[in-house]
């Protein structure tokens, strides 16, 4: 039986992610309870805002080790994805460390607009069930100032003053830098892929 939980650590996009799942026919439970999270079939870590307060909220909720030890599919969205990495430049923050990646600010240079905000192409770099069906012309909605470079963990990448990771994964931990809940049909498809893992 599928039981999806949204980790409630105070991010403002929790409602939107929950509604997106409802549109797909899945009622996700919003919880910060360790036992409820451990027993879920799928765990989603949403998040908007800055890395340091994001990690602080997880720590205050006693969820750091709970999340690190999960073995079911876990999806981090936007800041949630960045929190799955080792470290973020933003506020010099040590993150959960379940995906071997680091998060850096977009370069400060003329003509490069930061935040990276809007619809951008996501290019599939390696085959994975999470990105199944992603087409060459597909775009997703991004809004962020920090990004994960391309690496072995990259499933899909996007161009903004250079390539960065749009979708990443390491074992059961996955992340999307864009907002699938705000990425129309493409986002719905990727969320559905996640729920079928």
């Amino acid at each position: 039986m599928k039981r999806v939980v949204l980790v409630d650590a105070g991010g403002t996009n929790i409602g939107s992610v929950r509604y997106a799942l409802q549109r797909l026919g899945t009622d996700a439970e919003l919880t910060a309870d360790a036992a409820r999270i451990r027993s879920a079939s799928h765990v989603i870590l949403p998040g908007v805002g800055a890395a340091a307060p994001g990690m602080r909220r997880l720590r205050d909720a006693g969820l750091i080790d709970v999340l690190r030890q999960l073995s079911q599919p876990v999806l981090g969205v936007c800041l949630g994805m960045q929190l799955l990495c080792d470290y973020s430049d933003e506020g010099d923050t040590e993150c959960l460390g379940v995906i071997p990646a680091t998060v850096h600010r977009f370069e400060d240079r003329p003509g490069l607009r930061v935040p990276h905000m809007g619809w951008n192409h996501i290019r599939r770099d390696s085959a994975h069930a999470l990105t199944e069906g992603l087409g060459d012309d597909d775009t997703a909605y991004f809004v962020h100032s920090y990004a994960v470079p391309v690496g072995a963990y990259t499933l899909a990448s996007t161009e903004h003053g250079g390539l960065f990771s749009a979708v990443i994964a390491a074992d059961n931990f996955m992340g999307m830098q864009f907002h699938p809940e705000r990425s129309a049909g493409v986002g719905a498809r990727l969320l559905r892929n996640f729920l079928s893992l």
């Binding site: 403002t12 996009n13 409602g15 939107s16 509604y19 997106a20 409802q22 549109r23 908007v48 805002g49 800055a50 800041l79 607009r113 930061v114 935040p115 990276h116 905000m117 809007g118 619809w119 951008n120 192409h121 012309d137 775009t139 909605y141 809004v143 962020h144 100032s145 161009e159 903004h160 907002h179 809940e181 705000r182 990425s183 129309a184 049909g185 986002g187 719905a188």
Partner: protein, 256 residues
């Protein structure tokens, strides 16, 4: 490559979408959620809901319709009008809005920009600027434009305010050029170019769209990230799918 965004703006008053010419004489266009869904289906990249009476009367945005929109649509949306504090912003963001846009309250108290940015990140703080050229040739900011009887002309120069707003934490700027707004003769390219030169964050053009060519013009000549319009979309004069085909044919990157 990042697409240029087409953003319909829905002015909300008493639970309905209304339109007006030069911010006056509002008429009802339709229901909030119905129109949001229509624009979403037509390929709008983002929506802005503007509670036009919220700011002058000190009223807050009604959380209820924000949540109804958030449940139904799967593209980003921004709520403007009536956000005067971090608590107001939290309420709207928690109801499901992706961004809040602040205008007159940011002019009353510029620190509000930084407070919201610190609480929720710069990416959800949009600063809306209503601007008009004065007789001395300078563009200056207008406040409380939602109600013509309360509108105030400030001494603050528009371009100075854009720089200040960014340094305080604005993640996006919507520049509404009041001189061209509502008359459909094209965006104020000169002013938007001047703003672009000073904007490191995304810049949204507002005021003056009348034809598809005006959108091409503003993207090509003012290099804005997004173009906002209301009446030409509400009336059906410009259909978003045809507009996007036209932009793409002109070599402008848009989401189709």
């Amino acid at each position: 490559m990042l697409s240029r965004r087409i953003v319909p703006c829905l002015d909300v008053r008493d639970g309905q979408v209304v339109k007006g010419v030069r911010f006056r004489d509002h008429v009802v266009v339709g229901g909030i959620v119905d129109l949001a869904l229509r624009y979403r289906d037509e390929g709008a990249d983002e929506l802005v809901f503007y509670g036009i009476t919220a700011s002058p009367e000190g009223r807050r945005v009604d959380r209820d319709w924000v949540e109804r929109v958030a449940r139904q649509i799967d593209i980003p949306f921004c709520v403007a009008g009536g956000i005067r504090s971090v608590d107001d912003a939290r309420e709207v963001l928690h109801a499901g809005a992706d961004k809040v846009s602040i205008n007159s309250p940011a002019l009353e108290r510029p620190a509000l920009i930084g407070e919201i940015a610190d609480a929720f990140g710069v990416q959800c703080v949009v600063v809306g600027v209503d601007s008009l050229r004065d007789e001395d040739g300078q563009w200056r900011v207008r406040q409380y434009t939602g109600d013509p009887s309360k509108t105030r002309a400030l001494r603050k120069r528009t371009l100075d305010w854009l720089v200040e707003a960014q340094s305080l934490g604005a993640g996006e700027i919507v520049l509404n050029c009041m001189g061209t707004d509502g008359v459909r003769r094209g965006y104020d390219i000169e002013q938007l170019r001047a703003a672009r030169a000073l904007c490191r964050v995304p810049l949204v053009a507002s005021g003056g769209a009348g034809t598809a060519a005006h959108f091409t013009e503003v993207f090509e000549q003012a290099d804005v990230d997004a173009a906002l319009a209301a009446s030409v979309f509400h009336s059906g004069e410009i259909a978003i799918p045809a507009l996007k085909r036209e932009l793409r044919a002109q070599g402008i990157e848009v989401r189709v």
